[in-house]
Symmetry: C2
Subunit: 455 residues, 2 copies
């Protein structure tokens, strides 16, 4: 082969540990607070929701956390995932930049989400748990946990944001194929859901609402735990396998990124590819420009406030300090992809606050345009979420062209778009529309932010 396009690692090089950024941060992130006492919460407060092993990971200061052998064995089905050099895209853009992408769409559920779904199901299984409740937005996380549940014989109940439940019936079909149950949220199955439906019978739902429903089920049923597909420290931790592999693969290519791009909803795929490189930098390694791309229709990092807020709309979770649009923010139904969470992973927010990363918001029509250009060059149709990262990488490559710079750009192609073809159809039919916010529109939800002063 003259021009290598694919960098694969042997199975033995699946990382043996996850990387915990906490160990290398100059200052720790502000702790989660109990909503009543405003005091930092302890492991006991989380015990109704998560098995102990995951709670320990959530608060661990250790740099490396071992990946259990059964998890690595399951990872082996699709990991190490390929790193591709986007030579055909580079040619189409006529850029001197080198573009690499890590492709997480090779997992059985088609995204990066199984990287954390599998260990979460594993630790729950080890703790004897028979049922897990969760939420899902566009459906990537719900399908991933349904897949993992099937492997460990755990019942999975998914609350799917109503607008997506109706727009994406095939995601539900996928979850059911794996044996999970899936209902539209808000639902009549929880107090939170019933209250919201009483006030807003035509609610299109939000991740914040769906989280409340799933948490309520877990908190009120002894045999049931809860799982979250992003935001929390242990979820970001599990995703670091992506960046660790990418680092080894770039070494095979004799390269190192100047720029890393990821899309951000809750922040986990972004953290997964970024944190291992950021850790290198914090330990004295090469400085990398890091760019988080979010949708203009849900602009937490670029337009939100860095403040303590609830993780959910029903206010059942602890308060966490994060970039937030307010827990009552409902993203517009027109938005086709995931990335619809009102907040941001506290760890991602913290590194943004420390000035270690930049953020940028794109409108959805322009990101689909980038996605189609990518598909025609590289052959892979990205998920709408991933199109944000594609657009970010393309724009950086075009800057290189303008400036005559041959930078190395790495981005995370976190999933394929096979279940999102309606959005592509809408894009071609000119039916996709844009929505962005100015500060005044966001003021109301932000005005309701809870106080973080101790009671």
């Amino acid at each position: 082969m003259s021009d290598t396009v694919k960098y694969l690692l042997p199975d033995e090089q699946i990382p043996k540990t996850w990387y915990n950024l906490m160990a290398d941060l100059p200052t720790p992130p502000p702790p989660p607070l109990h909503p009543a006492t405003k005091q930092p919460i302890g492991p006991d407060d989380l015990a109704p929701l998560f098995p102990e092993a995951l709670i320990m990971q959530e608060v661990s200061p250790e740099r490396e956390i071992e990946i259990p052998a059964p998890v690595r064995e399951i990872y082996q089905q699709w990991r190490p995932s390929p790193l591709f050099r986007a030579r055909r895209l580079e040619k189409a853009l006529d850029t001197p930049a080198k573009i690499y992408y890590k492709y997480e769409g090779v997992s059985p559920a088609g995204s990066h989400k199984p990287n954390t779904a599998v260990p979460q199901a594993f630790y729950n299984s080890e703790a004897g748990i028979k049922k897990i409740s969760t939420e899902t937005g566009a459906g990537q996380w719900g399908s991933a946990l349904a897949f993992a549940g099937a492997l460990f014989g755990i019942d999975i109940q998914v609350f799917m944001v109503s607008v997506s439940f109706h727009q994406k019936p095939y995601r539900r079909a996928l979850m059911e194929t794996y044996g999970a149950s899936c209902v539209a949220s808000p639902s009549m199955e929880t107090n939170v859901g019933r209250e919201i439906l009483a006030k807003t019978p035509d609610s299109t739902g939000s991740l914040g609402i769906a989280i409340s429903e799933a948490v309520e089920i877990a908190a009120t049923n002894d045999d049931t735990k809860y799982a979250l597909g992003s935001v929390l420290n242990h979820v970001l931790l599990h995703q670091t396998i992506v960046g660790q592999e990418a680092m080894q693969q770039l070494e095979m290519a004799g390269d190192y990124p100047d720029i890393i791009v990821g899309c951000t909803g809750g922040g986990s795929n972004f953290a997964g590819i970024v944190f291992p490189f950021l850790g290198e930098q914090l330990r004295g390694g090469k400085k990398v420009d890091i760019l988080a791309i979010e949708p203009a229709a849900c602009p937490s990092l670029t337009k939100g406030q860095y403040a303590y807020d609830f993780g959910d709309t029903g206010h059942l979770t602890p308060l966490v300090k994060m970039h937030t649009l307010g827990s009552t923010f409902i993203p517009p139904a027109l938005h086709a992809g995931g990335l619809r969470y009102h907040g941001m992973a506290p760890l991602v927010s913290h590194v943004k606050d420390l000035g270690l990363i930049d953020a940028r918001a794109y409108k959805q029509v322009e990101v689909f345009e980038a996605g189609v250009q990518f598909a025609r060059a590289e052959g892979i149709v990205p998920a709408p979420e991933a199109n944000h990262a594609v657009k970010g990488a393309i724009d950086e490559a075009l800057k290189c062209k303008q400036n005559g710079q041959s930078k190395t750009i790495l981005f995370n192609l976190c999933g394929h778009g096979h279940f999102d073809m309606q959005a592509y159809s809408d894009y071609f039919a000119g039916k996709l529309t844009d929505r962005s916010y100015d500060e005044s529109e966001l003021a109301m939800a932000l005005a309701g932010l809870p106080s973080a002063a101790a009671a």
Copy 2:
């Protein structure tokens, strides 16, 4: 890792040649005949439809045919595809059999079809062709050629069997994402289509009709060639990369198949995995039990007649000797997957006639049941077509359990089901129904078989 589940080859081991079964057959297959003269056709007769390089492959007696370097470079994006040991399925079945599957769903278009779409686009591109017309049934082939066309800058026009065009709008969206155009067949764009619509305005279409339309476009436009996604010798040839890789991978596993299972529509994915092993056997190697699985709703190998017939409904193609249900056979609209062709690849028909392979027909509800069992054990949701092979492999594994035999079963998981979730939804909703035929129902279409006696 204690139990290996994945066998990957390094990129350098992508085969350098395709394997041509023709070289090892005890007798050659009967030649295609010109429909008017009933004399064997020559390369010139095919020149309006195919570039010379493909015509030469169609008639080549050489055992090994070189894969051009640019094709191998594109293959490298997803090849060598993984061979998996289905350990979790074996456990679920409690069988002493060893089950391996070659997974072709890792290609950008999600099936084995790009294995031939890419070389076909390449040879057309080398010949200066700017446009290719083709047909597609469930959409796997159309998407694959659309993908390949995008890489080589060739316009692709796809005639999609009407029933699938309407049942599977997302396959069309995928083709359009790659830049191809796609119309429902029968269409008003061809004489054949207009005639059929005049007689049967609500025609649900068939592959035979769509082939006629695509052939007509190519035959009547100088700048346009035609491409077929299965059936022809050169298409089967390109797919042999699957079996060749599987052979190397099984060697890594220290194993060799006792049984090989593939699903058959036109016969190309089946031939792809089977022919390299069959060639070994014909050259004195180990005898392997080979099983072709087809849908009971389109049972060419099990209920068709081995006779000369047209490849298309409009009778624009040569006569080929194959197992056929008659070129006017229209498979029932209820059938959810591909595998809807009235005939069978002449080479597959020939080896069936020689007694080198067996065939079996399954109904679709039972194959979806097998597919769901597979998905819950292995995590991959198979295409409806592939579910036939899954069911075949499961049944053979259960036979091993009954007999206490630890046979090695290899099957081709030729594609994923991400674009077929409506069929899974229908299966769960109890809406999938079955259709099979007894001989008397098939008599009418078979009665119309053309004579092969020279004019």
